[in-house]
């Protein structure tokens, strides 16, 4: 079964072929990044109101750059072949990908009727341990704290010829019950020839 194979690979690689790091270092470092962005990216003409949309975009961009590079490391460590369809891709992402890098396995759920979009539900999110969103009234509505993960998935999948739209739809930091990310396949990227000079 595809999903148990992905899970087994993930478990193997996590146990044997990855260097481990203290989770608090990761949490604190990521927290510093987000709070620095919140301090630096301000709404125009104000001195201290954070532009949360810009923070989300910046986290996504950072994640994108990480994802482009991370996918090579992932493919080398896990030795999985090409996935046949989106369902297999989803399983590999959740059981192998997240397992190797964060030691979590989000649950794949909420497949759309056309099979082009699925949700990833995170039971635990090591990036957001002990975090409370600032109390300025807007952050709870506008900031997606773990948005870097969306960028990572977008970048990684683009390197394997899939153009996707990834966004969070709920987050326990905002007071929702679950943290859920929605992944939608836009298209498979065909290699294009550069435009002719003539």
């Amino acid at each position: 079964m595809a999903s148990s194979k992905a899970a087994r690979i993930g478990e193997d690689v996590w146990k044997s072929r990855t260097e481990k790091i203290n989770t608090e270092i990761v949490t604190l470092t990521y927290g510093t990044i987000v709070s620095s962005l919140c301090r630096d990216l301000l709404l125009p003409n104000t001195t201290s109101s954070t532009d949360y949309a810009a923070v989300n975009a910046e986290l996504d961009r950072m994640g994108y750059n990480i994802g482009l590079r991370l996918v090579e490391d992932f493919l080398a460590k896990s030795n999985t072949g090409a996935c046949q369809n989106l369902r297999e891709t989803a399983e590999v992402i959740s059981k192998t990908g997240f397992k190797i890098f964060l030691n979590i396995t989000p649950i794949v759920s909420g497949w759309s009727s056309d099979g082009k979009s699925f949700g990833l539900v995170f039971e635990e999110n090591p990036l957001a341990d002990f975090v409370e969103l600032p109390d300025d009234g807007r952050s709870q509505e506008e900031l997606w704290y773990s948005n870097i993960l969306c960028g990572v998935l977008r970048g990684a999948l683009e390197m394997v010829q899939m153009q996707v739209d990834v966004r969070f739809v709920s987050d326990v930091l905002r007071g929702n019950d679950t943290t859920e990310m929605r992944v939608t396949l836009l298209k498979y990227i065909e290699d294009e020839m550069p435009p002719d000079d003539e």
């Binding site: 608090e24 709070s35 341990d129 409370e132 109390d135």
Partner: protein, 179 residues
């Protein structure tokens, strides 16, 4: 006359520069189980005066638990804990703060408090403070009166931390092992 046991009357968290970071008050249970609210100003003064005891005992004390700082009168006693970073946790105990729920508990009230009785409370407070520091959006410098310019709230605003402190204060009774 019901038997009474000690309960926590007030918890204070004071920063390195003797700036108050947080004060939580817990009402006393009066006769007929009515709640008597505490006077915030009086307790603020009490916490303020306890700071002198920290300074006086600082050179000789090697451990973190300052134990009984000062017994104000027959009812109120102050206990203190100093962290390595200079943050002081002060717990004010009211010896007759609560009605004893069971006869066994009443016996504890008669015996008085031992030194280690407040350890679980201090541990819980320290854990809550460490959790607060791990929140990337909490900037300790924002609460330091020497560094902050302009008007900003100098006390801790985090709802999670305040909830933890309130829970600790309400859950404590003499002889509790962990909170």
């Amino acid at each position: 006359m019901e038997a009474r046991i000690p309960s926590i009357a007030c918890i204070g968290v004071i920063g390195r520069h003797n700036n108050p970071l947080h004060i939580s008050l817990f009402p006393a249970i009066g006769p007929n189980s009515t709640q008597e609210p505490r006077d915030k100003l009086a307790f603020t003064f009490m916490l303020n005066s306890s700071l002198d005891i920290f300074e006086a005992r600082m050179p000789s004390k090697t451990s973190q638990d300052f134990g009984l700082l000062h017994a104000l009168d027959e009812r109120i006693a102050l206990y203190g804990w100093l962290t390595n970073t200079g943050v002081k946790l002060v717990i004010v105990v009211d010896m007759e703060g609560r009605i004893a729920p069971t006869p066994e508990a009443a016996k504890i009230g008669v015996l008085g408090l031992r030194g280690g009785d407040l350890l679980p409370a201090f541990n819980a407070l320290q854990t809550a403070y460490v959790r607060l520091l791990q929140n990337p959006f909490y900037v300790p410098d924002d609460h330091d009166p020497k560094l902050v310019r302009g008007h900003r709230a100098l006390e801790i605003q985090s709802p999670k931390f305040i909830r933890e402190v309130e829970r600790t204060g309400q859950a404590w009774y003499p002889g509790i092992v962990t909170i």
